[in-house]
């Protein structure tokens, strides 16, 4: 604690003389309102333990505690201090307790925005839904978007300004910044460097431009540890100008995906997934079906969805592309020798692509180098896809001077005097060869703005707590450039500042508000007479109309000569990939994402390295073995996961773990892949070696058994087989019963899940978790098999471990008509509603767990311990319409019964029936591919009833006569007959 707050206590004592009891409290509260005191309170539980060894601060703390105790005494020995509860004297317009409000805004991820509608209960954002109007989300969402709510309330977020290790204040900070900028003005800002993540925000880009105008010799660097610029660089090589590429998967009949994962890793993935699934499902209406080929080193969602998947070392993909380019006539040089099987594969692929000119897409992931991307652009051009399935626009990302490597070099040379970092965490994720921490130490004045007091904050002189989405004004572009203006639903919970305010401070703009900055920017950019109207419309819709980036027509430069990729192949390679749930580490403290099973391994809370079964055999490795992974002399201890479908001699390492300075959730888990990552081999590195140690760790996985054991759980057929026998999956259950029929209610809820559409992304799981207040149990509890997700996505492998087919199956509660769980409950805590729901009455449950034992689908979840988060801040996030379950109580999917109730109330008020589409379950709403349909299955006109009358419709385990209300549409694949 500073001298300032010591003085405050003295001031307080002086000010209190001669005042009566309750007055003292007001005085204390007034004191508590000073920035110094707020700062002090925020540091009540300092993460730097050294605070406690500092005698001055501890004594001050005790003094202050003593003061408040004494004051409490003055107010009376036994009476509690008087507190007044005041209802709204003038209620805020539209706020009706119990009735949520929805605001359009966006959630940012890797610099791009995803439009959402945020649900707010009396001022507390509780849940996000995709914004139908937004081109990237189209009403769907990813797990990252769903988990943004938890990020907002995260009790471990940074909650105070820090000057070195001491609490600072905003005015103090502004003072120091002012001094520094005065110095910088003298040198035209030559020593000023700004480091950010990718920026699509027009306002922020404009502010940075202003900053660079004010300090012409300053420089702005940006980087993204989870994305490369290879596609843009490749385009630059081929087309001779910087462009941004957008793919139209809804127009593509044949798709080739090379590395990466266009269904989950691309900024446009959410849209791509929808487009892909829509095109894929066209067969149901009598149309054709697209065909997906995937070549990749590690299994991805795209690889799992592919009709033909070829596991290949990442470094060899370039050769395959070169061979393909040759087949397609992009070049006429000799083709590399890929072996007969692969050559045949490539020939068939080339024929297929060649037969769908203008209706195909060749897509390469961020892990592929620019030279491969250049080839891909050339192939797309040769296939006539440009302008049809592959569009180009002006760059979406604001162009910075360079990336991390350039900045690090400047810092090493001592050219940087003032460094401002926000949106990224280079001290954690910079490649090891840059020695970023050492370089950073050479900077005289270092400022960090961030949501967490993270690794970079620890190396900075000033740390300013950042805001997150939902609590600050900003703007952001979607994958096609469409702008969304972010509006806050709540004042910054922990007094955070936005990046706009930091840049404004550097610009010397005193006490600006993010709102004014963003609004000011747009006011200056729009030519409209009624700006207020424009602004309201933009906020209401969640998009700025017509802000999508204009497409540009490009063609390969005449002097473009295709070059064979030069990547070294052979030996053991390591590929670096963002972690499917905690990404580049920014979500490391998000417990929902930590506990979300990785779609293809089902591992939670960890980042094991993925090794193919054959390589594991060769290296004598087993799942859980701790190995020393060495790359170019740098070593790291990692643990092994044997992953079917992984390319041989290719180890996949996920970023995002090994965080040392983050909250309680993410600290010290897994290992940091950046420790062996180098700036010249950011994605694929050759020449790795693996040394087995004697240690083993247990990996917390939610699915232990990977094959279906010859059970017809996931039913699948090829398109040809389906055409032959459309009802191949359908079984007519015997509807006869000795029991009298049960009276039916007004509605009969049902769900249909299309396995052709499901890509296994797990967005439904996080959406369900957010909607239904599902607790997080932690790694230890997952290890013993107590994960709580109400909906899970089962993943089975079929075929050989080397090249398996991957099958996904989302499993919510089946809401059986003849529910085995209901019969065995001794207290009737689970029973059937007349609308077909298998209701669960938490209050009545005594916890025998018989229902769970007797559930053939094992969808029931039990609170073995008290999994509720006692933190009040987390409680703010809870959906008030869903009971938070106590210890010893069974819980399960309810088809979002609270949403059915809300729709029922709305319908009753209008004196009408609930319409089809009025009730959208959380999983259905989130699903990127619209695989889940819900509604009144009794009414034959609804979408769900139609889905259930699809010939592919079947239920799980029909022989048990449970009569589930959740049914599945069998999966259909479209393999190339030439490769059969």
């Amino acid at each position: 604690m500073s001298q300032a707050s010591r003085d405050s206590v003295a001031r307080l004592a002086a000010g209190l003389e001669g005042k009566t009891g309750p007055r003292y409290w007001r005085s204390l509260e007034e004191l508590a309102d000073t920035p110094e005191f707020r700062a002090f309170v925020a540091d009540e539980f300092p993460s730097g333990a050294s605070e406690w060894h500092d005698p001055v601060s501890r004594r001050n703390f005790l003094q202050l505690m003593a003061a408040s105790c004494a004051l409490a005494g003055l107010a009376g020995c036994t009476r509690q201090p008087e507190e007044q509860i005041v209802p709204y004297a003038i209620a805020p317009e539209q706020v009706i307790p119990g009735k949520p409000l929805f605001y359009a805004t966006a959630v940012r991820h890797s610099g791009y925005g995803y439009g959402v509608l945020a649900e707010s209960h009396t001022g507390r954002p509780t849940k996000l839904e995709g914004n139908e109007l937004h081109p990237s989300s189209q009403g769907s969402s990813t797990s990252f978007m769903q988990a943004a709510v938890l990020d907002l309330y995260d009790p471990d977020r940074s909650q105070a300004l820090f000057r070195n290790r001491r609490i600072g204040t905003w005015p103090e900070f502004l003072g120091e910044v002012r001094t520094a900028t005065r110095e910088l003005e003298k040198t035209r800002g030559a020593e000023l460097r700004l480091l950010t993540g990718p920026v699509t925000s027009p306002t922020l880009a404009g502010q940075i431009q202003d900053l660079l105008t004010k300090f012409p010799d300053a420089a702005w660097y940006s980087y993204d540890p989870a994305h490369s610029r290879a596609r843009a660089d490749g385009a630059n090589t081929v087309f001779g100008r910087p462009v941004h590429t957008v793919h139209r998967f809804d127009q593509a009949d044949v798709v080739l995906a090379l590395g990466g994962d266009f269904l989950s890793e691309d900024p446009a993935s959410l849209r791509y997934a929808r487009d892909f699934a829509e095109r894929r499902s066209a067969f149901a209406g009598g149309g054709t079906m697209n065909r997906l080929y995937a070549v990749e080193s590690t299994l991805s969602l795209a690889g799992a969805a592919a009709d033909h998947r070829l596991p290949l070392q990442a470094a060899k993909i370039g050769q395959l592309v070169w061979a393909l380019a040759g087949e397609l006539g992009v070049h006429s040089e000799t083709k590399p020798d890929l072996g007969p099987a692969v050559a045949r594969w490539v020939a068939a692929l080339a024929k297929d692509l060649g037969g769908h000119k203008g209706r195909s897409i060749v897509w390469a992931g961020d892990d592929q180098p620019a030279e491969v991307h250049a080839l891909v652009h050339a192939i797309n051009s040769a296939l006539g896809n440009l302008g049809k399935t592959v569009l180009h626009t002006e760059p979406a990302l604001a162009a910075s001077k360079g990336g991390l490597a350039e900045l690090a070099a400047e810092m090493q040379k001592g050219k940087v005097g003032v460094l401002v970092v926000f949106g990224v965490n280079p001290a954690y994720d910079a490649p090891a060869d840059l020695e970023f921490a050492k370089a950073m130490a050479k900077v005289r004045f270092r400022i960090h703005l961030g949501r967490e007091r993270d690794e970079t904050a620890a190396l900075s002189h000033w740390h300013v707590p950042g805001t997150v989405d939902l609590e600050s004004w900003s703007d952001v572009r979607g994958h096609d450039g469409t702008v969304t203006i972010l509006q806050p639903l709540i004042a910054p919970l922990y007094g955070g500042k936005s990046e706009h305010e930091i840049v404004a401070a550097l610009l010397g703009n005193d006490a600006p508000r993010a709102h004014d900055i963003v609004r000011g920017y747009w006011k200056s950019k729009t030519e409209t007479e009624d700006f207020d109207r424009w602004w309201r419309r933009a906020l209401h819709d969640g998009i700025v109309a017509g802000s999508a980036l204009p497409t540009v027509e490009v063609r390969p430069r005449p002097d473009f000569v295709p070059q064979a990729p030069t990547a070294a192949t052979g030996g053991l390679e390591v590929t670096f990939r963002p972690h499917p749930t905690v990404w580049d580490g920014r979500y490391a403290n998000n417990a929902w994402l930590q506990e979300l099973p990785v779609p293809l391994t089902k591992v939670t809370w960890d980042n094991p390295v993925l090794v193919s079964p054959a390589t594991a055999r060769r290296l004598d490795l087993d799942t859980g073995d701790v190995v020393e992974l060495e790359l170019a002399g740098r070593k790291v201890l990692a643990h092994v996961w044997i992953q079917p479908g992984q390319a041989d001699d290719s180890i996949t390492v996920h970023l995002g773990y090994g965080r040392t300075r983050t909250g309680r959730v993410g600290r010290g888990r897994g290992f940091n892949a950046s420790a062996i990552r180098t700036s010249d081999a950011m994605w694929i590195a050759a020449g790795a070696s693996v040394k087995k140690t004697s240690r083993r760790v247990k990996l917390a996985t939610t699915q232990h058994h990977q094959v279906m054991e010859h059970r017809d759980l996931v039913r699948e057929a090829t398109l040809a087989e389906f055409r032959e026998q459309p009802e191949f999956a359908h079984e007519r259950p015997n509807e006869q019963s000795l029991y009298p029929a049960v009276a039916k209610g007004d509605y009969g809820w049902g769900m249909a899940i299309d396995l052709t559409r499901c890509i296994g992304c797990n967005a439904c799981m996080t959406a369900c978790q957010a909607e239904n207040n599902i607790p997080v149990v932690g790694r230890e509890q997952v290890l013993v098999g107590r994960a709580m997700h109400w909906i899970r996505v089962d993943r089975y492998f079929e075929g050989t471990p080397e090249a398996p087919r991957v099958l996904f199956q989302p499993i919510p509660c089946m809401q059986c008509e003849n529910a085995p769980c209901e019969t065995v409950c001794p207290v009737g805590a689970t029973s059937h509603s007349d609308e077909g729901l298998n209701d669960m009455v938490y209050n009545r449950c005594v916890g025998t767990r018989y229902c769970s034992n007797n559930c053939p689908y094992k969808v029931r979840r039990f609170n073995f311990l008290d999994y509720r988060d006692p933190d009040e801040r987390i409680q703010l996030m809870r959906n008030p319409n869903v009971t938070v379950r106590a210890r010893g109580v069974m819980e399960k999917c309810t088809y979002c019964v609270q949403r059915i109730s809300a729709a029922r109330i709305a319908a009753k008020k209008d004196d009408r029936r609930i319409r089809d589409g009025d009730v959208v379950t959380a999983c259905q709403s989130a699903c990127p591919t619209r695989a889940i349909v819900f509604g009144d299955a009794q009414d034959k006109t609804t979408r769900v009833a139609k889905a259930k009358s699809d010939p592919r419709d079947y239920v799980l385990l029909p022989e048990l006569n449970t009569r589930p209300r959740t049914s599945y549409a069998a999966g259909i694949t479209n393999p190339n007959p030439e490769l059969a």
């Binding site: 009298p740 013993v784 098999g785 089962d794 001794p826 767990r849 007797n854 689908y857």
Partner: protein
Amino acid sequence: MSDAELHENPSQALLSPGHTYASVTDKISTIVLSDGVRRGWMFGFALTFLLVMLLLWAIGRLFAVGIGIWGVNQPVGWGFAIINFVWWIGIGHAGTLISAILLLLRQKWRTSINRFAEAMTIFAVACAGMFPLLHLGRPDLFYWLLPYPNTMGTWPQFRSPLVWDVFAVATYATVSLLFWYVGMIPDLATLRDGAKRRFAKWSYGILSMGWRGSAVHWHRYELATLLLAGLATPLVVSVHSIVGLDFASGIIPGWHATIFPPYFVAGAIYSGFAMVATIAIPLRKFYGLEDFITIRHLDNMAKIMLATGLIVVYGYAMEMFMGWYSGDIFEAQVSKTRFFGPYSPEYLTLIACNVFFLQLFWFKKFRTNVVLLFLLCLVSNVGMWLERFIIVVTSLHRDFLPSSWGMYRPTFWDWATLVGSLGLFFFLLFLFIRFLPMIAISEMRELLFSKDGKGAATPDKTRGTEVERVPEGKKVWGLLAEFQSPEELEDATSRSYAEGYRIQEAYTPFPVHGLIKALGPRKWLLPKLVLIGGIIGGTLGFLLQYWASTTAYPINVAGKPLNSWPAFIPITFELTVLGAALTAVLGMLAMNRLPQPYHPLFHIDRFRRATRDRFFLCIHQRDPQFDREETARFLLSLEPNQVFEVHP
């Protein structure tokens, strides 16, 4: 087997020769009435006490932290708690079987083991009853499984086998307790009359309810015991059948099998006899009771274990057969998993214990060698515990969807609870041995009487010629004559009845059946009352379920009809038994006017031997023919040991 044969072959004897009513009584009651404790007992008691503390610690932690301290999880929602429950309740079955079924079958050899077998039942049921409560996620709400009117208007869901369990176990515990206690009343009276210390006298006095060994009491007592035995026999079958239904009602492969109820009952008897022998063998050695618990007892128990064990083996074979024959892939998976899955060591151990070691019981050598038998019984206990482990765990850990397959691994707290429950069981057993008669004394005397009545009575040297008068100023309530053998008493009673005396009463240390005829004709109401009690219990039970399920709390459960009458049968049955059993015991006590702690006969010091080795006839002053002098003379003419005047 005739008595002559028994004498020729001592190893086949039920009771060693040379005992008298008095020696049998003293030998058994000394264990309880002697001062001080033996070192071995103290050691065992201390050890089991520590284990009880361990149990309390485990339970305390369970309540504080939650069920999550155990290894249960998804998909294995049941673990040690249910395994232990089934195991303990199975063990209890031997006690009921010995006391009830063997009583009905008139198997006299049961006499010396039935008392502690019954005690074992009580303690095993106590241990068992604890687990369903502990295993609840919210154990404080266990009473929601009971039907009681409440403001929420909720009722239990009577289709659930867990509710059947509540009724079955509660009925079983009640009936066993009644059976045990009623059986002990005459022996408690013996202890009351033999006790030296005031506290012991007082305690046993309260517990024995003023039992005096009246011939009429004995008759009603025997009626009640017989009725209880008749009721307990179907009960004991029903209880483990219902426990078997806990599993068989489930649809989980490995559970969903009709063989479960009979297979469970056989397994229960098998494990119960193993436990009886496990306890009996060290006990007879330690307390020198080889005279009472003979090799023949052990041999018989081993034979029963062999018979029931073979039924269990048939059950295992059937499970495997159905796994193959049904053609059901899930059942087949279960059978395969048991042999080759992650729990195959447990399964193979179980097969070794219950199938291979069981075959040794075919050999007389193993049945009659005390040490070998003891070891085999231990093996059987372990095997039966493992059987429940296999049924609960292996069926759950891999069911329909391979995605949800998992493993169950018990934690320290699981083991602490299991070991703690063993501690509790033996702790109670140690207390029982020390404070209650572990062998039914009156039944031993009866056995002696039926075998060799002549030599069993200890003759008095003197014959009384004088009447012992009441103190000055006291009124005379009746006249009491003491005889030294049941034959003399029977004779005397007949003569007294012939003389015209009607209000008279005979007192014996064990039931003497001829006396009832000698005392004159009577009507016996008890069997009819018991029938009515049973009908009332069953009717109320069914109506309760019907009304609750169709009228008071009609909910749609899995599309089943509101009146799911087949599901109401188990509880209806249990309540029939409960109603009948309560009527039998309460009716017997009421008609015998017990408890009656004060009775004029207790003034006579010699009357204490009415519960040991003497036989009394009492003529009441209320008898119209009664005359203080005349009647006394008449009694003296019967050649009694002594005649007393009794004051009120």
